[in-house]
Symmetry: C2
Subunit: 416 residues, 2 copies
């Protein structure tokens, strides 16, 4: 029997399996309504168009679409992406775009190229779990900064940067998801974006702007991306077609200063040589047809309805003391339970009740957020949303007031 | 102006761009016959079958094929891969297989999960460049062991392991490409495979068996894979459909002990969440049809013809003192020039002459192999092979004997 433990790297020994992923397995069973995943609604996938495009690519361009590609990615797709980004005021040359396996690979690449064990980075409280996992693998110290309804609190950010500077440290970057954040659903105001850029400039650090949901806006006005406001060129911009098109193609990308992209290309060479030419050719051909933008309003309308359904159900069902965010877009909202309740400990009973979510603590690099949870509204149907929130509210009432609950429960048992 | 250099990790600062990749760009120009790449012949891609299968997948299974998948990979494909491996005597459960973006990502995963800066690994002299790049990113010491016509020389391997043991070190693994090695074309005999397993057992280390070309055998008898001879379970087995099907799908995989695969799954979660469900569904459906094995003989026959064409051209054109391997399969052969010639220095004149190759030094972790080169015979046509080898031989003659060359050159100029 070989003792494999002795062979594992420090990175492997410290990595934990994702709570979300493990939950997705449990939540897939039986009658559970799952608000745990982050899956887009499969009804939004442009199946017929993808069939037509896949066939066209294999009919007319197979020798290229089935061959090795360049590490940087399909040049046609990079040109399309530069045009796609321009609609948001992002002026990027195709050469400064690197195509990745979802934006998760872009996060890993950023870690690989910029992070050394012991480095500091700054992130939001709460923050995207996949980002935390990607950076944690490089054994860095993550400094969390509190969010309010308008984004990261600038006084707290300034204080965190000053504290690091006093210790002779400069964080490698500040990691943010400024539009309909995963997990909180919060969108940064333009003022906060400008304050972030000013502070990053003052303390000489970079910004990693992870922006997978930007097109999924169903209310309010869109402030410009941070990268579009950045005149110093300190922002790396990450995005993906997982929400606008389909995750199954795994088309993400990273855009940024040439010096950084060049290092990322070299790193990606060692990591996978190149991504699949086939999925890239399909995405490029689909974008060339120009249909992606015109179909987005329908997708966005669908998510607006689902978000509204969830907000109405929360309004209807939740007891006093429970609060939640009201996202202007995206796939998630964020629930805060009364202090003293522990969303992590409530998960097993919730699954027994037939509802799943992700406990908020997973998104806090400082171990906080015990009384919070992330709810996904893009995947469940409106009927499931109503039923799932009712189940969740029953559980919250029971957990908030055990004595009252017992009476209530007896009552319902009688009336069943 | 931001000084990005100060932000880069040690891994990023030490990584070099791949010689092969840079060459591929140069060699793609004009009239150059390129033996530099490692591309399969696009004539071998089963385009019509892939068209039919892609259409079937998108018609019948789009909600799954366009959605996020599990990190481990499509369960149907993993089941197909277990069956595919069984034909070579490899008994692997689907759960012990992890699907990767080409086998390059499997190499990176092995590095991520097993390697710590300063660790030692053992590899062949010469060795696959992509493997060296993957492991170099983890800042390890690579101990090269000489190859002869039958594989790694066992006395040299034993000596390398003893020297490490005397220094209190145990290499994390021995990395080998035992079938039609890239770059040398050499196949390990069964005896050598068994000696490797015995030495790995004696010194308590693991084996990474990278086997992308196994199905591409056009002469001789196949010895079993090392993993099939391994009764202790110390071998990680890597393979890919890039040569048997098409690289554009980027379907590779890693099979091994459950304890290692589990860590690799966790690491891959942080690296890209999951690979594209679409390409995996296509590969699974193609394998389920059962047509892949039956079409291989035609692919193999094509590569046999091309290899023969290259061997005959070398025989015909090369001056005395030049030797080469005679592969029983795969995509490459290996040329040794007379001592004193430098294949690296000859590359610019070769490109001017209209022929490209990869200098052998790139494949040597110890900086050796200056008078060697790797030639690819799978991609060029038979006519290009004849012409390219004639150009290469002209250059070799010129570089070996400048005086004679001058006379010869004058002669040909007159007769032009």
């Amino acid at each position: 029997m070989i003792e494999f433990e002795a062979f594992f790297s420090r990175s492997a020994r410290t990595a934990e399996r994702s709570t979300i992923r493990e939950l997705l397995k449990l939540a897939g069973r039986g009658n559970v309504v799952s608000f745990a995943g982050g899956l887009p609604d499969p009804e939004t996938f442009p199946v017929d168009e993808l069939r037509a495009v896949a066939d066209e690519v294999l009919r007319t361009d197979a020798a290229r679409a089935l061959q090795y590609g360049t590490t940087e990615g399909d040049p046609r797709l990079r040109a399309q992406l530069a045009a796609w980004m321009a609609k948001d005021g992002l002026q990027v040359a195709p050469d400064d775009i690197l195509i990745t396996t979802g934006s998760q690979q872009a996060l890993d690449l950023v870690g690989r190229v910029l992070l050394e064990p012991g480095d500091a980075i700054v992130c939001e409280l709460p923050s995207y779990l996949g980002g935390l996992q990607a950076f944690r693998a490089y054994q860095v110290e993550m400094v969390g900064v509190r969010q309010d309804d308008e984004g990261m609190a600038p006084a707290d950010l300034a204080e965190a940067l000053r504290r690091l500077a006093r210790a002779g440290r400069r964080p490698k970057f500040i990691y943010v998801v400024p539009d309909f954040q995963n997990p909180s659903g919060i969108t940064w105001t333009q003022e906060r974006r400008e304050q972030l850029l000013a502070l990053a400039g003052e303390f000489g650090t970079l910004i990693v702007e992870d922006n997978p949901y930007r097109e999924m806006r169903f209310a309010g006005m869109a402030p410009p991306p941070i990268a579009a406001l950045d005149r110093a060129g300190r922002t790396l911009y990450l995005s993906t077609f997982s929400k606008t098109l389909a995750p199954g193609l795994r088309i993400g990308w990273l855009a940024g200063p040439a010096a950084v992209i060049e290092r990322c290309v070299t790193a990606k060479q060692a990591m996978d040589l190149c991504g699949p030419a086939l999925t890239q050719a399909i995405a490029a051909a689909l974008l060339a047809r120009g249909g992606l933008l015109t179909r987005l309003p329908e997708v966005v309308a669908r998510y607006r309805r689902k978000c509204t359904a969830m907000l109405e159900a929360l309004e209807r069902e939740m007891p006093p003391g429970v609060t939640w965010t009201r996202p202007e877009g995206g796939l998630f909202l964020w629930v805060r339970l009364p202090e003293g309740l522990d969303a992590g400990a409530m998960l097993q009973p919730a699954l027994a009740e037939g509802v799943a979510y992700v406990p908020g603590q997973a998104f806090h690099c400082d171990g906080g957020g015990r009384n919070t949870m992330r709810l996904n509204f893009s995947y469940p149907t409106e009927a499931q949303i109503a039923e799932g929130i009712a189940r969740l509210a029953r559980l919250v009432r029971r957990e908030s007031a055990p004595a009252i609950h017992t009476i209530h429960r007896r009552g319902t048992t009688v009336s069943d």
